[in-house]
Symmetry: none
Subunit: 409 residues, 2 copies
């Protein structure tokens, strides 16, 4: 059960966009038991697409193609597939009906250019795309199943997850266990569980997947009948790592913290200066976060810190906006103004500008204010670029909140 | 002057990490005049690496390899290259001296594991890596130059930029022009400029690069002496598309709108319900956005809409939070409270929960309030997932703001 991925698009070849689609497809197919052998990207060029298919099928039973299905002249995938499979393009009425509906949703009329998207290879099974005009296609040829999907990530994911995976042969799924930790790096974690790791049987592999502020531990087995053993190793690791584990399985820190708040019937508010809305965004990315998240005040400018949060001009002048004193006052003010159980605040220099001799770019204070006078602060000294500093800070704030909640008992 | 990129690593094949290296390399080589024909990724497997080299060299004079150069057992690139080029591994004393220095910087001692990294293919030109232990290597073989570098992004970039690009043949750089548009899809755009597109000479290619809410048009020429012609085609397209063009070159909508505000010495504030901070994040992702962006109030909960923005309970009950009336009141209140020139507001059902019989998921109102009583609203009916709805709405809000500013004159 081997699969390959072929990504099509000049924008990939000139490095204008990062190909995140193929990573998503790999992870998705991996979970469904497919082994990915090759990932190839080629430009919008009929010959290169055809050669690319040949190169990929050498090592795969399943080939997933994305990209090149738009309505404009630089989209050549349909023509390449029609030639490759020696078929013809034919009018596909269902696609035309569907495209008209989709275009209508946006208050538009379908045009002649949309009509071009309805001429599709006769030998393909056409898969309706509910989120965009270009349909998915499945070709079955000797030892190869070829799936073609548009490159727009949301449309591709929708088609593969909701429509196509059920039409593919079932592989014996790989077993994964994900243990999500926050607060320590992989070196510390691996020392903490060294003896457990050394005792893992050959069939079970452990990987450390570090990212901004947290590390996910992944147990993997391609063998069958390992479920109980994997569960028991997962349990041992979770017990050993204790409070560093914020969740297992398909979760993330925002979800996990949200779930803590929901169970405790507590609420959260934020006051963000340097993170400029990203912390609120992380929190509200979780469905039903309105159950516990009441809102935010983003006092980006000095005067808003004073007018909306009542931070005195003296405090701002004396300590500066990027200070433990101001970030603490912000957290307390948010807690009071929004009437929430917990308030998080951030203030710092995300960069690239704004540094002072004593406060270089990456100097960032975060604070958490809670019931019973709880107030925790933390100083971060980051070295990333603007976006990296913002993202890391938001995650550090969630970790701080989780710590406060757990200490509260 | 054709180049290919071969990325090596199991973590790429199972989708654990997104291969951002190859995008960076593509863009870097593209700027230096190389045309990237293929990008291939394979796992840590000697045979697959050797086959991968063969597949890539079919269409390239230059092949850039990254990954698989670490000191652990799963790093197999050196062995694969040694076999592929029929050479032998030999002790490389300079690398040993360098590794000892590097390891010392981190207060450690070089170990036997590091010694393994000093046995290198005899036929390779070894390139000292100042930022990590694994060196770069250049092989010259018949019609192929093969460059091998570690996969750590900072080390790879350092080697290619500072050490290796000067050792490669000089190509004539590619010319690109980027025309950034918002407000219409690629279908409409391509109809608007059909005659200009039809008149493009063979050497100049036009591509449509759509993403959420906007389309970038890219003109590309690999030929020399096309600068004036490309500028004139760019001018014609920009003139034809008029206000749909928000910028040219290396910009994005947030930056472009920010620049409009900066020039006009105007300010912006936001009041976000359903976008929950993402709009503020888009705006504050731009360096120095504090020049014009004063802040946001995110009244996620009903009661905060009332307490912080003074939206009356009657209005909320009568029309519902997701209504033109409430989103308009929010924009006006933000404008007044924060004392900004322009205020944007959003209120809607991002999903997956929260739908009502008359307001399905994706029903989202946005509003823009400005000087002289300007008030523009727009209803969106989106069909994406939660994150997609949030992202699209934030972009639609920026487009609405841009429209208001331009109409203001």
């Amino acid at each position: 059960m081997k699969a390959a991925i072929l990504t099509i698009g000049d924008e990939i070849m000139i490095g204008q966009i990062v190909d995140s689609n193929s990573a998503w497809i790999s992870a998705f197919l991996d979970q469904h038991g497919w082994k990915i052998t090759r990932k190839l990207a080629v430009g919008d060029d009929i010959d290169e697409i055809k050669k690319g298919i040949d190169l990929c099928r050498q090592s795969a039973d399943l080939l997933i193609l994305t990209g090149g299905l738009g309505p404009t002249n630089d989209d050549l995938t349909v023509d390449a597939l029609t030639q490759y499979f020696h078929t013809h393009k034919a009018w596909h009425e269902e696609t035309w009906v569907r495209i008209q509906e989709i275009v209508k949703r946006f208050g538009r009329e379908a045009t002649d250019i949309h009509k071009q998207q309805c001429y599709l290879p006769e030998s393909a099974e056409i898969i309706a795309n509910e989120q965009g005009t270009a349909p998915g296609m499945i070709f079955r040829d000797k030892n190869l199943i070829l799936v073609s999907m548009p490159g727009v990530p949301s449309e591709m994911k929708h088609l593969l997850k909701d429509k196509i995976i059920h039409l593919l042969p079932k592989a014996s799924p790989v077993e994964h266990r994900f243990i999500r930790t926050a607060g320590e790096g992989e070196t510390v974690l691996s020392e903490m569980i060294k003896d457990i790791e050394d005792g893992l049987p050959k069939e079970i592999k452990l990987a450390y997947l570090p990212s901004y502020g947290f590390v996910t531990l992944r147990l993997t087995s391609h063998a069958t009948g390992q479920v109980t053993l994997m569960d028991s190793f997962q349990d041992r690791i979770v017990t050993r790592l204790g409070k560093l584990v914020y969740g297992i399985g398909d979760t993330n820190l925002s979800k996990a913290v949200g779930q803590l708040l929901r169970v405790r019937k507590e609420t959260l508010g934020t006051g963000e200066s340097c993170t400029g809305g990203y912390l609120a965004h992380l929190i509200t990315s979780v469905p039903d976060s309105s159950d516990y998240y009441l809102g935010s005040i983003i006092p980006y400018a000095y005067e808003i810190k004073t007018s909306e949060l009542g931070i005195s001009e003296q405090l701002l002048k004396f300590y500066g906006a990027v200070s433990e004193e101001v970030v603490s006052a912000m957290a307390k003010a948010v807690r009071e103004k929004l009437g929430v159980t917990w308030a998080l605040s951030t203030s710092g220099i995300a960069g690239p500008g704004g540094a002072t001799p004593t406060k270089p770019v990456g100097t960032i204070w975060i604070a958490c204010s809670g019931p019973g006078g709880i107030l925790k602060t933390r100083l971060l000294n980051l070295k990333r670029d603007r976006l990296g500093n913002i993202e890391y800070t938001a995650i550090a704030a969630l970790i701080l909140l989780r710590k406060c909640i757990l200490e509260q008992g």
